[in-house]
Symmetry: C2
Subunit: 378 residues, 2 copies
């Protein structure tokens, strides 16, 4: 007997990124990283140990540890007035899934950015919605244009995914465009889902955020994975109006019950002054690495890039050297450096490579130099 | 602007069990527990601490830690030949959700036991399937009858949920009935989903298991929460044929990414000889508590019960004292003891109370005596 998969799994595949990692030779320099190479900071690690020692190993409430929810709420003064506006999730990934499950009817359309995080269209399909891409344009620095989204709204649009700083481009929202978009969405009664998992990693201007402009109009998704180097702990959150959050909590009971109790206590330490201080140190470290990678990349002729506003990726135009997929493969096979080709993030990214600077200084320098030698010859 | 929930959330509510807990007065004796009051055993706790100290705090592969998958596979020699037959999930709850998401098409029917774990029909609704209950009959000791399921199979049946030992009744499957059922399901090409989260907690005969009889015909769901007192760590698994599991892994990437890396290392220790020894000690402890609760319950006139085959609940017929809901409320409000009324588990359980013996010996004795005094008068 063969177990037939449900139709909704058609086209649900591991991302190209995962497949590149799995096929990478051992010893490769990894500039494909989606997580910092830095350890989880001591305050959070110790809080995790304490949680175990103190026996905090039973279920938390479905919505999450009340102290953690209250701490998260304080980060979003415009959106959250307290713990009731926060649900703790299994990383921001479960936050995105829950938000889509809770707001997208089967058959409705979900608008998402392209290039963008490849999970968005997959999540839409898993909940029976139709993913509809909207373009982020290279000539606009990959920042959203309200018009590009507005033109794609239909009576069946169930939600619009917004993402800043963007993975892979590092772009933020520009306030006038975002204000214009949110005003349209409000008038059309279409909610936004704002993926802000890189929001704490911004280097200059924080950029505009949907929650501050239209606090009742959607859900904010984020987590500690990237900013605190806590990817494996799996702690994220959804922040938004209480009425929809209470429905999300009810659904979460039947999907994961709750996030790990140990991880939630570790996460709480990120909101103490010690935890925050580490967040600042890590951000400073990433800022140095950004400068380092910019310097090294600028040494490669005919590679064009913008220094990213946030996140920890350069999105570099290498089209002078051929297609992105071929270039990434050539760099991997002959220079032993992992990079992610633009098409992994959807249309509009042909000719680009994503290069992570969440790697060690040594890997950044050696990795980019190897790429240079491979592309330009000895 | 009001964020409208998707239609699939209609009727998705917190369970009656959760609501009873939330409304319970402080200081109540809790015989409603769904988790042992015992701590996570030291080998697993220490392994969790080591994982943190060693910095195992990044993503694991989506399918889970390969060592843990291999260890789980060894527990299911008939079903799994190795790690590729195992996906590590965020508790058995996510296992049930993934199994339903992966096998139930929108609009298909899912058969589930009543009385049974209240999450089954909720999960079906969340994935757009129609939950169809099949009865477990008190006069058959709440064990499944193949005929009761067979009669409810239609061309739209997408899967049948099986559960043993049952929450709330403690009943196991009887081999002849299970064999007959699985033969029918095979011939009709209908997969089973076997919830075995209490399978390691059996006191005499282990009972028949679907995976041993029809290894290619479905998915086994389990986890460490109950048997190792690890509910808060959130580690479970799905075991089954590789073809469908690879699709489940792809879906898991977009729901939770992976289970907590720290929790997965803690879980691995449960499969060492030290970990297993604790499992046996905990089982022996529960066995004593089962005897203790049986003794105390037998002192209440007109309360009828079967000693449970597995799990850690008595499902006692208290119909001589009125409706289950009224009796549970009366016991809570006047005797300050939490119990779960049968109707929390669906139809066919009117007149019953679920009493957990995953509580301390003292709570078992005092709790049941308080119930006796309340029901029979001073």
């Amino acid at each position: 007997m063969i177990l037939r998969p449900a139709r909704r799994l058609e086209g649900i595949e591991r991302t190209l990124i995962r497949r590149i990692f799995d096929a990478a030779p051992p010893g490769a320099i990894n500039l494909g990283l989606g997580q910092p190479d830095l350890p989880t900071p001591p305050p959070m690690a110790l809080a995790g140990v304490s949680a175990i020692v103190e026996g905090r190993t039973g279920y938390t409430s479905t919505a999450g540890d009340p102290e953690l929810r209250a701490a998260v709420a304080e980060r979003y003064p415009g959106v959250a007035s307290g713990a009731d506006n926060v649900v703790i999730t299994v990383g921001s990934q479960e936050g995105i899934f829950l938000a889509c499950l809770a707001m997208l009817d089967s058959g409705s359309e979900m608008l998402y950015p392209e290039p963008g995080y490849p999970a968005y269209p997959m999540v839409a399909r898993l909940v029976g919605a139709k993913p509809v891409p909207y373009p982020l344009r290279a000539d606009g620095g990959f920042s959203l244009r309200a018009e590009d989204i507005e033109r794609r709204l239909t009576l069946r649009t169930g939600a619009v995914i917004l993402s800043a700083p963007s993975n892979p481009t590092g772009a933020g929202h520009k306030t006038p465009e975002l204000e214009r978009l949110l005003s349209v969405l409000r008038s059309r009664n279409v909610p936004w889902i704002s993926d802000e998992v890189y929001a704490a990693i911004t280097y200059d201007d924080r950029g505009a955020s949907p929650g501050e402009i239209s606090p009742e109009g959607g859900l904010v998704i984020s987590g500690l994975s990237k900013e605190m180097s806590m990817t494996g702990w799996r702690v994220g959150w959804v922040v938004g109006p209480q009425a929809i959050l209470s429905r999300i909590v009810a659904a979460q009971q039947y999907i994961v019950t709750c996030a790990s109790s140990v991880s939630q206590r570790a996460a709480l330490a990120a909101f103490t002054s010690e935890g925050r201080a580490y967040g600042k140190r890590y951000l400073a470290r990433l800022l140095e690495r950004r400068s380092l990678m910019a310097l090294e990349l600028s040494e490669i002729p005919n590679v064009r890039f913008a220094v990213p506003h946030g996140g920890f990726y350069f999105f570099a135009d290498v089209s002078a050297y051929g297609s992105a997929l071929e270039t990434a493969r050539r760099i991997l096979e002959r220079a032993n450096v992992i990079t992610i080709p633009g098409p992994a993030f959807g249309a509009g990214a042909e000719g680009y490579l994503r290069l992570s600077f969440a790697a060690s200084e040594q890997d950044i320098v050696h990795g980019v130099r190897r790429i240079r030698r491979e592309l330009t010859g000895p």
